[in-house]
């Protein structure tokens, strides 16, 4: 299995992590997995909401030492 592509958006605030994800997703292939690292809790809530709205697959969120790891798969 291919490794997840990490998008390190730590230190940025809303909607920075979402924008960094979208900019990167644009060049990703369908089926690729991504993991956004964010120190902004609002983005940890907002990114899954965006994924649901536009139809990419949300794989889960976990928090480690103040950093949220938001995993997803590009579906289209």
């Amino acid at each position: 299995m291919a490794e997840r592509i990490i998008i390190d958006a730590r230190g940025s605030f809303c909607p920075g992590p979402l924008m960094e994800l979208i900019a990167r997703l644009k060049y990703g292939a369908v089926g690729e997995e991504f993991e956004v690292l964010s120190s902004d809790k609002g983005s940890a809530n907002d990114i899954p909401e965006w994924l649901h709205k536009v139809g990419h697959e949300f794989l889960g969120t976990r928090e480690e030492a103040g950093v949220w790891h938001i995993a997803l798969r590009k579906t289209k």
Binding site: F13, P15, L18, M19, A23, V54
Partner: protein, 131 residues
């Protein structure tokens, strides 16, 4: 496929907080599939000229806190709205005339000047946000 939500944003303030909030609404709306149109006028327009220029002033303590944080600024967010979400960002033709702004003086992602009549016509039936 459901019809896209339409969002029309009028930005007239030159304050950092209002520019930032307008940019947040424009960028998140545009990348979520909404059709976003932005109309820049009054004190806002000079903050969209190319180059560094004088940064917008904070109108309160929140804006001052914002200046100390790392994050996407309003120009970067509006650019993302235009480039990633196809938002249409236009200067108001009246404001362009008053400021004496030429074609090339504004950020490259700002489109041609738009008159108020056309903007109001486009905004008919859309959500309208004013900052």
């Amino acid at each position: 496929m459901p019809m896209a939500n339409r969002i029309s944003i009028v930005v007239v303030s030159g304050s950092l907080e209002r520019l930032q909030m307008a940019a947040m609404v424009a960028s998140v709306g545009a990348v979520s599939g909404d059709e976003v149109t932005v109309f820049l006028s009054m004190n806002a327009l000079r903050h969209f000229t190319r180059g560094t220029g004088e940064p917008p002033a904070a109108e309160g303590p929140f804006g001052r806190s914002l200046q100390e944080k790392k994050g996407p600024g309003y120009r970067q967010l509006f650019q993302s709205a235009a480039e990633l979400g196809d938002a249409k960002i236009h200067p108001c033709s009246m404001a362009v005339d008053v400021l004496g702004v030429g074609p090339g003086d504004l950020e490259p992602w700002v489109r041609e000047p738009l008159g108020l009549t056309r903007f109001l016509s486009d905004a008919h039936g859309a959500q309208v946000w004013t900052f």
